[in-house]
């Protein structure tokens, strides 16, 4: 596993970075968003969705757990935006059938997804967001390719992140 690091100085920059990463996504992908309350996960999701051609308003799916968004994209038809914040047990992830979100022609983007990765798919792109040292709006992002499907795309991921590359790593 290799970590790529980036830094953004505003929610707009986080959205732009997420949109650039969406350009590397393929059908069947799983992206896990990790970070504390207020770290910018839904902001990231909004930018990622825009990058896949989602036209709907992307709001937090905390209560509905999963919200499918149709995409205007050559190969990806649906973005499944999920949020495991309210689930206390891995058992719930299994019982709710969330593994089915990782499917052909779709990309699954899962907030609070840190614990559930292995249950959902063999590989994932893990995006961790944390407050940066330079003020309330700054965020430090760590992007980790887990599994061969993502490790093969490290070059493309690094290219997408280049405008925001930074931090030690």
């Amino acid at each position: 596993m290799t970590d790529l690091r980036a830094r953004t100085d505003s929610p707009e920059a986080t959205r732009a970075l997420a949109g650039a990463l969406a350009g590397v996504a393929r059908p069947g992908d799983l992206v896990l968003l990790v970070g504390d309350l207020g770290a910018g996960k839904t902001t990231f999701a909004q930018g990622f969705a825009a990058g896949l051609g989602v036209g709907d308003t992307v709001t937090s799916p905390t209560f509905t757990l999963v919200r499918p968004h149709p995409c205007r994209h050559p190969t990806i038809r649906t973005l499944h935006h999920a949020d495991l914040y309210r689930l206390d047990h891995l058992r719930d992830v299994v019982e709710l059938g969330l593994g089915e979100l990782v499917e052909e022609e779709a990309v699954a983007l899962v907030e609070w997804g840190d614990m559930a990765g292995p249950v959902l798919a063999p590989g994932a792109l893990r995006v961790s967001l944390a407050p940066g040292p330079g003020g309330d709006e700054e965020r430090a992002l760590t992007v980790t390719a887990e599994g061969p499907a993502w490790e093969d795309r490290l070059g493309a991921l690094a290219g997408a992140l280049r405008p925001w590359a930074g931090g030690e790593g």
């Binding site: 709001t59 905390t62 509905t64």
Partner: protein, 342 residues
């Protein structure tokens, strides 16, 4: 159509069934948390899973029929139909949860040979005000605020809705829950924040009022982040002060937007709907604001604010009378939006 309507609601956490009579009166309304079913199923039931709805729904329906005085033989195929129609929430919500209620309603309708009606959950919330306040003057401005939704609606009558504004990120109820959990105040977050806030100073922290003077859309994500940042910077701050300041910020924005929506649309009343509408300070502020504008405030009882099946039965009754029954192959739709006028 003759006979009462059975309503079923399983779109999110609550398993609920209710019966509304021919005159529109609520004959019974049962929500799973009111019934001591957890013990009967061996302890903790994962509330979020469709399986929990599956286990709870049949006894909840039986309880609703019995409380309405309709039990006798009614749950057997070929028996006398106890109701004139069965309505169920078909969306929006969690697909696995929705499917349980929709399948049950279709099966009962088929067995009893009565119409099935698929109801929109958001429309159901709009009907909740009508249950407590029949004879409303239209149009009214509806603020629908819950864990999953924050919408400002111009309601020109049953089935006639225009969307005025909505949240661009988090729902208001979600912000309550997340801030409550962050402060360690427990779940559900609405009552927990309200209780803590009652002993705090709402001016202790100047939390942001996003988009306050800008249109009718809302945003609560930045407020949540501000609370987290403030607590990290001031580890000694009292939970009561943080809760009170947070709640005040939410109420200020919701009330300002609602009153502006009402003023701009020739509204003849203001309705609250959804779980957050049970919040005391919000109810008081909306009541005061409406009074200052010379408008009536239609605030549903707290039981009709949170998810319930009486609102589904009421919306189902209206829908059946005006639009007819739904086909039995009507699918559940997790993304269903409010049906808007064009």
């Amino acid at each position: 159509m003759t006979g009462p309507v059975l309503g079923i609601e399983t779109s999110c956490d609550e398993t609920a069934a209710a019966v509304v009579g021919e005159d529109g009166a609520v004959l019974s309304s049962v929500v799973s948390s009111q019934v001591d079913l957890h013990a009967a199923y061996g302890g903790v039931v994962p509330e979020l899973a469709g399986r929990a709805h599956l286990e709870l729904l049949t006894p909840v329906v039986a309880e609703a029929l019995e409380r309405a005085g309709l039990a006798a033989g009614g749950l057997r195929a070929g028996g006398t139909a106890p109701v004139g129609a069965v309505a169920a929430t078909v969306g929006p919500g969690l697909i696995g949860a929705l499917l349980v209620g929709v399948a049950e309603a279709k099966a009962l309708a088929l067995a009893w040979e009565v119409p099935f009606v698929g109801v929109n959950h958001l429309e159901g919330h709009c009907f909740a005000s009508l249950l407590d306040h029949p004879g409303i003057d239209w149009p009214v401005t509806v603020l629908l605020v819950s864990g999953g939704h924050t919408l400002l609606i111009a309601m020109e009558g049953p089935g006639r809705y225009r969307l005025l504004g909505q949240t661009l990120d988090d729902a208001a109820g979600e912000a309550f829950d997340k801030v409550a959990r962050f402060l360690g105040l427990g779940y559900p977050g609405g009552p927990a924040i309200e209780q803590a806030a009652s002993g705090g100073d709402p001016r202790a922290f100047a939390f942001p009022r996003a988009l306050l003077d800008d249109g009718l859309d809302l945003s609560f994500s930045g407020l949540k982040t501000s609370v987290v940042t403030a607590v990290r910077k001031h580890p000694g701050a009292s939970n009561e002060d943080v809760a009170a300041s947070f709640q005040q910020a939410v109420v200020d924005v919701l009330v300002a937007k609602t009153l502006r929506a009402a003023a701009s649309g020739g509204s003849r009343g203001i309705c609250l709907a959804g779980g957050v509408a049970a919040n005391g300070p919000l109810r008081a502020a909306v009541r005061a604001g409406a009074e200052a504008m010379g408008l009536p405030a239609h605030l549903p009882s707290r039981a009709m604010c949170t998810d319930n099946a009486a609102m589904v039965a009421a919306a189902g009754r209206w829908q059946l009378e005006q639009l007819g029954p739904s086909p039995l192959d009507l699918p559940a739709d997790p993304n269903l939006g409010l049906p808007l006028l064009v």
